[in-house]
Symmetry: C2
Subunit: 404 residues, 2 copies
């Protein structure tokens, strides 16, 4: 089950960024399960990682390596998350880096490892080792779509986005691929995103732009509220096209907007492919006093099992939305000022049922596949948006039957 | 669906506390849906109420009246929550108090109103008015079991508990009844608890004892994480048996323990009757640095849809428990020191899979109806426990189909 049509874009090439795909049979024979992404010399590479205290071995190694050197290769495997594997897991992740480094003639610190799949099983290093030269042979700038397939686990479809902007007469491109159909699926785990541009951007600015875009995309989605042990998103700037720097604010803004668009598109694709999803839901909280409280209210509504089951049932059960807003961790919320809309239909007026509201109008909105909930707190000037999906029988089936 | 056998205790009588039940046909004809509880003159009455910012009209009125006068009657209706009803709802709740006050010859401020049921519909005051004299006629100290039935909504069974202790040669009794099969069910809403004792206890001490017992019972359970707009628990001390006061620490401790037992038993009954529940789950977090972090970790695991679906599937999916602990909001958690047990089976040793763990051993524990999860954080000396249930297909069915 997934929401809306499955469409991969026609990717641009990102000069200097090549991708190679191979089948190591880590979990299933014949499945594309190893992807290598090459960053050219002189590229800038930044990342954001899961805040789960139990972060997986590859996440720990990737963070270390990023601090030690400029990455030349990303090594991604599916079918095994190398999480909950203790010291052995760290050794295995490092081994993979050393093997690929030897293959490519770089140092192990120049490799960033990423794993996604079953938690708690030892990583089959030998299987990965066996296909590294095949992945190397396969390296090509034209491989974005195939790599988008190669990083999937329980996803029902590949997720990709692309954008191009003009910076001082030069075309700058951004490509992204991602995987994930829940904030966590701890046996076949996690959200991964790989984004690359041919722009030339120095490290600190690139890191700041990635953080900003993450806060406008991956950090605003939820399927089940469970944060993965393996989440990571990497942004590569190959530096083969125009330079973007602090001195040119127009170019910076244009690039940030394009990056936001690419990453938001990937984030939305993950929600639409959420486990058991039948609806795509946008929750906007307006007139909040702070961004924190806007997000708190948005996620409290997005995580409510009662709101999510009502969405699944296409039931305009406004009392459930109201109760979720009321239990959000917001100080001194004046409920008598709150207004709530379902699509264009106002359901709550000044904290109570809108007298003009009719069930028929609410039900018409809820019958749609794309649903917008707007909550006006009347406390300040901040607005923020989160995206989520519904809670269906299929969610329970997928997660209750997963290991059996 | 509910967990374990359905057993109401043989209630003691609480001298001075009489209960009357009537059928007003608020939602369904013939159903017992109005309960009046009489507190004798000289009784002490205290309450705890929902912290949801959208608290229902009866909750607002009950809090006001409790501050203004010593209650003589509680008036409870099911079938309509009188929540999300704005000023009209406050007027309706106050009207009910005035009508019962006139019937009983007391002031309206001596009445506490409680409502549970559909949100957002006007309270049918006339229907309630029509049966107040019947409820008055029915008042009896022997009516605890019938009153336990009379406050139910979507509950599949009545919930009651009773205890007796000896205080300085006198028998002191505690009775309690409760309703609820989720922290919230916003159309037929809420958790309500009514507890009475014949002990004589002054107001401040009684309030403190109720808060303590609530923190050891109702504030430690969750079905779906959604806090209701109507939750309330009332404790009446009729003062017809022994006095309990600060001067007699042994009696205070004995009473608090008995009160905890009664309220914990009611709280457990609510979890066991949780929507779609097939398991009763106790989560103990030990060696936490603070009580807050013990509760945070406990509830994060208890609310995880992935842990809950694994419980439903009897799947010893320890990675999901570990990931939930890791995302709990606890500063500087040292995951390498964490140990986790499923029943008596250690699944996580020092933050990783216990090498001695076998799936067979884990699955045997998960196949039980009563499941204990113990999480040792190795950070301090505090222990706390929360109780929850699983997430089943029936939960989705109940909440997706509820209004159709």
């Amino acid at each position: 089950m997934a929401v809306g049509p499955s469409v991969l874009p026609v990717f641009h090439q990102i000069d200097g960024v090549r991708l190679g795909i191979a089948s190591a049979g880590i979990k299933k024979a014949g499945r594309k399960d190893v992807v290598v992404i090459e960053c050219p010399e002189g590229a800038t590479v930044v990342g954001v990682f899961t805040k789960n205290a139990f972060c997986a071995a590859p996440v720990q190694i990737a963070k270390q390596h990023l601090a030690q050197a400029t990455p030349r290769y990303l090594l991604i495997n599916t079918g095994n998350a190398n999480a909950g594997t203790g010291k052995q897991g760290l050794v295995a992740a490092q081994q993979c880096c050393e093997l690929l480094a030897a293959q490519m003639g770089v140092t192990a610190e120049q490799i960033l490892p990423f794993s996604t799949g079953v938690i708690g099983e030892p990583l089959p290093v030998a299987k990965i080792e066996a296909v590294l030269s095949a992945a190397k042979q396969d390296l090509s700038e034209a491989n974005w779509a195939v790599a988008g397939e190669g990083i999937l686990t329980t996803d029902t479809r590949a997720k990709g986005a692309t954008a191009a902007i003009e910076v001082n007469g030069q075309l700058v491109h951004i490509n992204g691929i991602a995987k994930g159909s829940g904030m966590i699926k701890p046996n076949m785990a996690t959200m991964l995103g790989f984004v690359a541009t041919d722009a030339k951007i120095e490290h600190e600015l690139l890191q700041q732009m990635l953080r900003t875009a993450t806060d406008r995309s991956f950090n605003r989605i939820t399927v089940d509220g469970d944060t993965s042990t393996n989440d990571a998103c990497i942004l590569i700037a190959s530096g083969q096209s125009a330079e973007i720097n602090q001195a040119d604010e127009a170019a910076m803004t244009a690039f940030q907007t394009a990056l936001d668009d690419v990453m938001r598109s990937l984030a939305h694709d993950i929600v639409k492919d959420g486990e058991g999803a039948t609806k795509f839901v946008e929750i906007t909280v307006s007139h909040a006093a702070t961004q924190d409280e806007a997000i708190e209210v948005g996620f409290t509504v997005a995580h409510s099992p009662l709101v999510k089951t009502a969405l699944f049932a296409s039931d305009a059960n406004w009392g459930r939305i109201l109760a979720a807003v009321g239990r959000a961790n917001v100080d001194a919320l004046d409920v008598d000022k709150i207004n709530i809309w379902l699509g264009d239909v106002q359901i709550v007026l000044n904290g109570g049922r809108n007298p003009d509201y009719t069930e028929a109008a609410g039900s018409a909105v809820m019958a749609e596949t794309f649903i917008r909930i707007q909550i006006d707190l009347a406390r300040g000037e901040v607005e923020d948006t989160v995206w989520t999906t519904d809670l269906s029988h299929d969610y329970v089936t997928i997660n209750a039957d997963y290991r059996s």
